[in-house]
């Protein structure tokens, strides 16, 4: 689904990704871990097409095509979803309105007809029930006055509605208490499907207690320095990032 090869990028004069390679197949869950400043969030933003990051080398192939040529909205319509670490507030814009516009933008791209307000509400209520969310959510401004947990849950609702092929969840666990973490993780688990890939970007291994990854990668200074299975995350938790970094240098 996603092939990243020797990707290099910078923001301003600072080089952040320095030759990163990663391969993600449909149905897989990957966890990207690493210390602060290692480039985890940058990777998520570059895949989504944030224009502040300049790609200076390497390739990214998505579903067999060149991803880097596409505008952010085209990537989204092609099925790439980014769950933001800090979802922005958009005052005055109804949550349901954005969600409906997003769903219809994607449907239009796929050559399907737009769904009307009734169909939309029915679908949204279904997904919210599945995620254990209060339907009142829909009538509030986008992330306006939401708690940290509500914002993250709203991201998962959007993901459920948009049914992406590739979902990248950036620090979805940050700022959540244990109950909120559990419910967000449950939401993600219900969205695991054989034709969908999920990339979890996380600082701590505790999220992985609830969402079990197939692959774990450690990112440091803009490169993946170690990959393994679920046990790598546990080992990291025990020995810290310095251990991998030293091992990688050796």
């Amino acid at each position: 689904m996603l092939e990243i090869s020797n990707l290099k990028c910078r923001i301003g004069d600072t080089e952040i990704l320095r030759g990163l390679s990663l391969s993600v197949k449909a149905g897989e869950v990957h966890a990207i871990m690493g210390p602060n400043g290692s480039g985890k969030s940058t990777l998520a933003q570059v895949i989504a097409g944030h224009e502040s990051y300049v790609v200076t080398g390497g390739t990214v192939t998505y579903k067999g095509g060149d991803l880097l040529n596409l505008a952010p909205e085209e990537r989204a319509r092609e099925g790439i979803f980014l769950g933001f670490q800090y979802p922005v507030e958009i005052a005055g814009v109804n949550n349901a309105y954005l969600l409906k516009a997003a769903v219809n933008a994607k449907r239009k791209h796929q050559g399907l007809g737009e769904i009307d307000a009734f169909e939309f509400l029915k679908l949204a209520r279904e997904k919210m029930a599945m995620l254990g969310m209060d339907p009142k959510f829909l009538n509030r401004g986008v992330n306006e006055g939401f708690s940290g947990g509500e914002k993250k849950r709203n991201e998962i609702l959007q993901m459920a509605m948009l049914e992406p092929s590739l979902a990248i969840l950036d620090e979805t666990d940050s700022g959540l208490d244990i109950d909120a973490l559990k419910s967000v993780a449950e939401g993600v688990n219900t969205l695991r499907k054989p034709d969908r890939a999920i990339v979890l970007v996380t600082h701590y291994q505790r999220l992985l207690d609830y969402i079990e990854p197939d692959h774990v990668h450690v990112l440091s200074e803009g490169r993946i320095i170690r990959s393994g299975d679920r046990t790598l995350a546990l080992e990291l938790e025990e020995k810290g990032y310095d251990w991998v970094r030293k091992a990688a240098r050796a």
Binding site: A71, E73, A76, A91, G92
Partner: protein, 480 residues
């Protein structure tokens, strides 16, 4: 030109019979008593109207141009303006929509303007416009049955002089301000509405107006009187882009609401704003005021302002009657080089009067957008209440938003609330929306419409939809 020359000019035209020729000739530039007389004569006005104009002209001569607004423009040369521009003859107009600038038609399309209105708006010769005549006739019958008078101002001066005489200038006196005095002297035409006692006007006075009131000229004059217990909703202007050779527009609108009457006045203003460099746009200097003269009366202003190079306008309410209510809902958009200084005045005079102000200012490009509002509570206005909500939205880095609230409270029982916010469409918001599959333009439109929704919901339904589309067109290319 001296007044003698002008007199002879007027007289010479008489030789050709004054009906047709008068309608097709413009007066040469310049302003003096002779010009005022000539305008009045052409309109076949009664003596009192001419006297009224002349007094206004003499008062205007003694006044000076106001400079306090937060707008900048080169000095206006009042003697280079022609004060009577005749309507274009049918020979100069396009014969069908096929002859109209395709760009204009494209804009109509985007705005969702009904097909049968497009030809009229594009200035196609009247004969070529089917539908509109029969539609107008139907409306006219319906209004006449209800006893509603709705006609051009010139017609009202001739047909209903007693009403004009009683109410004209009773809300905006001739010498109220420089531009109001100028308008009073030379006003070209406009609309007149009278709703009799206890009558609820059977339709929005909008559809009719849009089809019939093209070419009202640069000095428009509107007078609406709602007699006791009556109700009327009036919509002025249209979303279609309006061009005019006259750069200066100085209109006066007077509303009178008697006991228990209600007037809802909505404006959608889309005058030509000039090009990206601000060249050629309209100056829109308007005086609009409503007088809640009777107890329990209500006047509500709703405006969507997207056009003009410079807008200078403060629809106001005099809350004289006890328990009377004034409302002002406004969306003002300024893009490129546009300048807007707009707001309202709520003057609380009667006891238990209430007012609400909701102002939404949007600035983009290099535009400057100012809200200027006065809330005044007079000593006898016990229990007066006002709530003001004043929000600004900035798009891009080079524009400006300014808020100038004035409050003069002379009664200790008054309750006044003022809330203000300034926000910006951020790159993060746009990226968030694009990541969800929306184009940048759709994202901007969505955010802007969300910002304006409190005002849009005050507009008559079909216009709310058009106003929304208009905003989207006005802000095209504002980001990026």
């Amino acid at each position: 030109m001296s007044s003698e020359n002008l007199e002879s000019l007027v007289n010479r035209r008489y030789e050709h019979g004054f009906v047709t020729d008068i309608a097709t000739e413009s007066l040469p530039p310049g302003l003096n008593e002779g010009v005022v007389r000539a305008i009045s004569k052409r309109k076949d006005e009664p003596e009192f109207m001419l006297e009224w104009r002349l007094q206004a002209y003499r008062q205007w001569l003694e006044m000076i141009e106001p400079k306090w607004a937060h707008v900048h423009y080169p000095p206006i040369k009042f003697n280079e303006i022609s004060y009577y521009a005749a309507p274009k003859s049918d020979d100069d107009r396009p014969k069908s929509l096929a002859e109209v600038d395709p760009k204009l038609l494209e804009t109509y399309e985007k705005l969702g303007i009904p097909l049968h209105e497009r030809a009229k708006l594009a200035g196609v010769a009247v004969d070529a416009v089917f539908d509109s005549v029969s539609v107008a006739t139907t409306f006219k019958g319906k209004l006449a049955d209800a006893g509603v008078i709705f006609c051009s101002f010139s017609e009202a001066v001739r047909e209903h002089p007693e009403l004009v005489r009683k109410y004209l200038g009773s809300v905006v006196p001739r010498r109220d301000n420089f531009y109001a005095a100028l308008n009073s002297a030379v006003f070209s035409d406009g609309s007149f509405v009278y709703i009799p006692k206890g009558v609820r006007c059977p339709m929005e006075l909008s559809t009719y107006f849009r089809i019939n009131a093209a070419n009202t000229g640069q000095f428009e004059r509107t007078l609406i009187i709602a007699d006791e217990g009556s109700h009327v909703s009036y919509l002025e202007g249209c979303t279609a882009p309006m061009r005019d050779e006259n750069q200066l527009h100085a209109a006066v609108v007077e509303l009178v609401a008697l006991e228990g009457a209600e007037i809802k006045y909505s404006t959608v203003q889309n005058w030509y704003p000039g090009d990206e460099n601000g060249v050629g746009g309209i100056y829109n200097f308007v005086t609009k005021r409503g007088d809640c003269r009777g107890d329990n009366s209500k006047i509500s202003w709703t405006q969507v302002e997207t056009g003009s190079a410079i807008t200078w306008k403060y629809p106001s309410c005099l809350l004289r009657g006890e328990n009377s209510v004034g409302e002002f809902y406004s969306v003002a958009v300024a893009n490129n080089m546009q300048q807007a200084d707009t707001g309202t005045k709520m003057i609380h005079i009667g006891a238990n009067t209430r007012s609400t102000i909701v102002s939404k200012g949007i600035s983009a490009g290099k535009a400057q957008n100012a809200y200027r509002g006065l809330v005044k509570v007079m000593p006898q206005a016990h229990g007066a209440r006002n709530h003001t909500q004043c929000d600004s939205l900035l798009i891009g880095k080079e524009c400006g938003a300014h808020t100038f609230p004035y409050m003069e409270i002379k009664n200790p029982s008054a309750r006044i609330e003022h809330e203000a916010t300034t926000s910006k469409i951020s790159a993060d918001q746009l990226f968030y929306c694009r990541q969800r599959g929306l184009s940048e333009e759709d994202a901007v439109n969505m955010i802007v419409n969300g910002f304006c929704k409190d005002v849009f919901k005050q507009l008559p339904m079909e216009f709310a939809v058009e106003a929304q589309a208009l905003l989207n067109v006005s802000l095209e290319g504002a980001v990026g």
